[in-house]
């Protein structure tokens, strides 16, 4: 079985890699310190098993699970046993290894994997016609930055990213960090032009360069598309 390891800690990756070497059933084909790079790899390569750390900066293991649609089995690796219940809400998660992982526990997981049939991901729904325009009137919005109200034209915005208590508005000319939430700005944006593709990203639909499986290229940014947001995005595409 071809495996990849996703963990921001080199030490954690080295341990899983070493454990994989102690069984004939697992072949580690790549390792990643962040989930975004792993998604790109998965989109282009055959992978059977993913060892996935939950607790990673900016893009967590659960974000990854929400994004990846490919038929692949996932083994979560974490130092937090309390995530176990949430983990098993995802059918693709086949086991949950608490760090530091011991060899007997690892081998038990391998046996469990061998005994299980692979899951099949649900196919994406067929695209339909685009929805009618709706949302706020006007062509711009004002944001409060350092007590100045700055006008940003909708056409200039290509994406908005949630960053904790702030949002990052990216435009052609510059980026604006504003104390607000994705939900609040969504209400101010025209629905015909903007769409949420992930819990941390709203994109300007008209600025899409291309879409590859579960990521979208907007200007120079590759943005993940979550499984739950993908059907709505697909509906909007004027597919040939």
């Amino acid at each position: 079985m071809k495996c990849i390891i996703i963990d921001d800690e080199a030490m954690a990756r080295a341990i899983i890699d070493q454990l994989c070497q102690q069984t004939d059933d697992l072949d580690v084909v790549a390792q990643f310190d962040n989930a975004i790079e792993a998604i790109k790899f998965i989109n282009k390569n055959e992978v059977d098993i993913i060892f996935l750390d939950i607790h990673m900066p900016t893009f967590s293991g659960f974000d990854f699970l929400d994004t990846v649609t490919k038929d692949v089995q996932v083994i979560l690796t974490t130092s937090d046993p309390q995530f176990a219940i949430e983990a098993f809400e995802y059918p693709r998660i086949k086991d949950y290894l608490v760090k530091p992982v011991t060899l007997p526990r690892f081998l038990k997981m391998v046996e469990k994997l061998k005994a299980q049939p692979k899951t099949k991901s649900a196919p994406a729904p067929a695209p339909t016609s685009a929805p009618s325009s709706s949302g706020p009137e006007g062509k711009e919005l004002y944001v409060n930055i350092d007590r100045r109200l700055i006008k940003i034209a909708f056409d200039q915005i290509f994406l908005i990213e949630a960053k904790g208590d702030y949002i990052l508005i990216k435009t052609h000319d510059k980026n604006y960090t504003v104390h607000s939430t994705l939900k609040k700005i969504e209400e101010k944006l025209p629905e015909s032009q903007f769409i949420k593709v992930h819990r941390s990203y709203v994109i300007n639909f008209t600025k899409i360069v291309d879409i590859e499986d579960n990521s979208v290229l907007i200007e120079r940014d590759v943005i993940p598309i979550s499984r739950s947001n993908r059907p709505e995005l697909m509906k909007r595409l004027n597919l040939l």
């Binding site: 030490m11 954690a12 080295a14 070493q18 900066p57 530091p100």
Partner: protein, 105 residues
């Protein structure tokens, strides 16, 4: 009092000294940066990021066989999430112990 050890890494390495050496190399490379970053975050009173760093360090503490150290890390991480710094001094002692251990290995 417990002391850092390589028991776990020896077990994982399946009796291969070069693999243990490789592990120690990685931990020796990763730990000082995390150690420094943690102290800087505590100094800056950035409890949320400090908690995330404790989470990262927790794994290394476990790897080096510090059972009580790990339990303290769990408490410290949770406390920091509530902006509670009560375990800072005790946790710093655990990190110092690891730092010394790695310098001697």
């Amino acid at each position: 009092m417990e002391h850092p050890n390589l028991d776990y890494l020896n077990e994982i390495a399946d009796g291969q000294p070069e693999v243990v050496a490789q592990f120690v190399g990685i931990i020796t490379k990763e730990f000082p940066a995390e150690f420094q970053e943690y102290h800087a975050l505590i100094e800056a009173k950035d409890s949320a990021k400090a908690a995330a760093m404790v989470h990262k360090l927790k794994h290394k503490i476990s790897i080096l066989g510090l059972v009580q150290g790990r339990a303290l890390a769990v408490e410290h991480e949770e406390a920091l999430k509530e902006e509670d710094y009560q375990h800072t001094e005790a946790f710093a002692a655990v990190l110092d112990q690891i730092d010394q251990f790695l310098k001697n290995n």
